[in-house]
Symmetry: C2
Subunit: 235 residues, 2 copies
């Protein structure tokens, strides 16, 4: 198994994803929130890049729920923002969630050329690693970053996943991510550029929740053909 980490979202176009599993990581907060919403019972999610597209989808199918943020704030008229706490402890009976965020949903769409697309966060990292080990394919980890820029917490999570995989070969990006993981205490991630932005908005509980490690068995898989994602079923 070859493991690479794409350290910056703008690099995706320079990497060959064909036949590989691409893992999207947006710890603060998209991939954490999607996992939490699906574990609370929503059946599936649909990432879109633009707010207008979300409203159009809801117009065509009013049962859909809309979630998303712009600059960390809930989009006006949406059912949810991008906080996992809106879903934690809830119990939905199915339903579809259309999701748009500044960084994460774009990264999912950018991975369209991969053989398979998986979402990961700190809460699900060991479960995702187990899933990837079972698949046995080459893995490309894609930290979603912050507005096109490198993100410390997403790269930390990528390095963590890389460390849990039986890699015969790590790419240069994976080597750097492993160093970030090995030498940065997890608590320090709350003070990354993105972490400080959430702190400034008073979102301490979101930070705490997103930084919990390995507490979820859920693996979120996105089907690029239908555009819908859901929890992986049988493993």
């Amino acid at each position: 198994m070859r493991v690479e980490v794409i350290l910056s979202p703008g690099e995706v176009e320079h990497h060959d994803l064909a036949g590989r599993v691409c893992v999207i990581i947006d710890v603060f907060r998209f991939t954490t929130t999607v996992l939490t919403a699906l574990e609370a019972g929503l059946e599936r999610f649909y990432p879109v890049e633009e707010v207008e597209e979300a409203f159009r989808l809801k117009q065509a199918n009013p049962t859909l729920l809309l979630a998303g943020e712009r600059n960390a704030l809930k989009v006006p008229g949406f059912d949810f923002g991008n906080s996992p706490l809106e879903h934690a402890g809830k119990s939905y009976s199915g339903g579809g969630l259309v999701f748009t965020t500044t960084n994460g949903t774009r990264a999912v769409r950018a991975a369209q050329g991969a053989g398979e697309v998986v979402l990961a966060c700190l809460r699900s990292a060991p479960a995702v690693a187990a899933y990837l080990r079972e698949r046995g394919r080459d893995v490309v980890l894609l930290p979603a970053g912050l507005e096109g820029k490198f993100s410390l917490e997403d790269t930390w999570c990528a390095g963590c996943l890389a460390s849990l995989l039986p890699a015969e070969e790590y790419g240069d990006g994976a080597k750097a991510a492993l160093l970030v993981y090995e030498h940065t205490p997890r608590e320090e991630l709350a003070h990354s550029a993105h972490g400080r932005r959430l702190q400034a908005l008073g979102l301490w509980e979101d930070l705490r929740f997103c930084l919990e490690y390995g507490v979820s068995p859920g693996v979120v898989v996105w089907d690029k053909d239908t555009g819908w994602g859901a929890l992986a079923r049988e493993r």
Copy 2:
């Protein structure tokens, strides 16, 4: 002084360079070769993105020399490739060098919005750090990367420079580069993706030369207004 490292060349557009010193790093081999050519007596260099532009400039001014590579190989019809060994130990009496490479010259042009643009390599890293300390401005370090992708050796050099600067604040990218620098032995850089490519071409002496640390007092500065670069004079 604030110090940031842009880990991937595609990220430049998302960073604000205005008023800052942007340091271009292309250890294998552009910034090493430019430094070596200027120290051998060439007066100035002019980075261009396209081979055709280099030929046009020479047609207008036949005294110009052309240097450059595509995929690590010398461009046919050029005076030089991109090896520092073509200039090491030479003694030129002035002259202008037009330069085009796959990664480095693009990075220089991408830094056009910065307050000042400096070139660095391992050979000149301590000298460049001293220059930056004197300037006292915020610094953005830009590893040129390999075909749009993260590069271990350029990031290592950026982390090394970051460690030599009196930063009050390191950005997330700088923190990662510092870890790469602190935990990767310099010899290992010969086995980076780019290093292995040069090995495959038998360019062991180039690798050895490019990986020599701190042996040069030269600081190369690029003037974005004229498009020409030269060794910094008085310091």
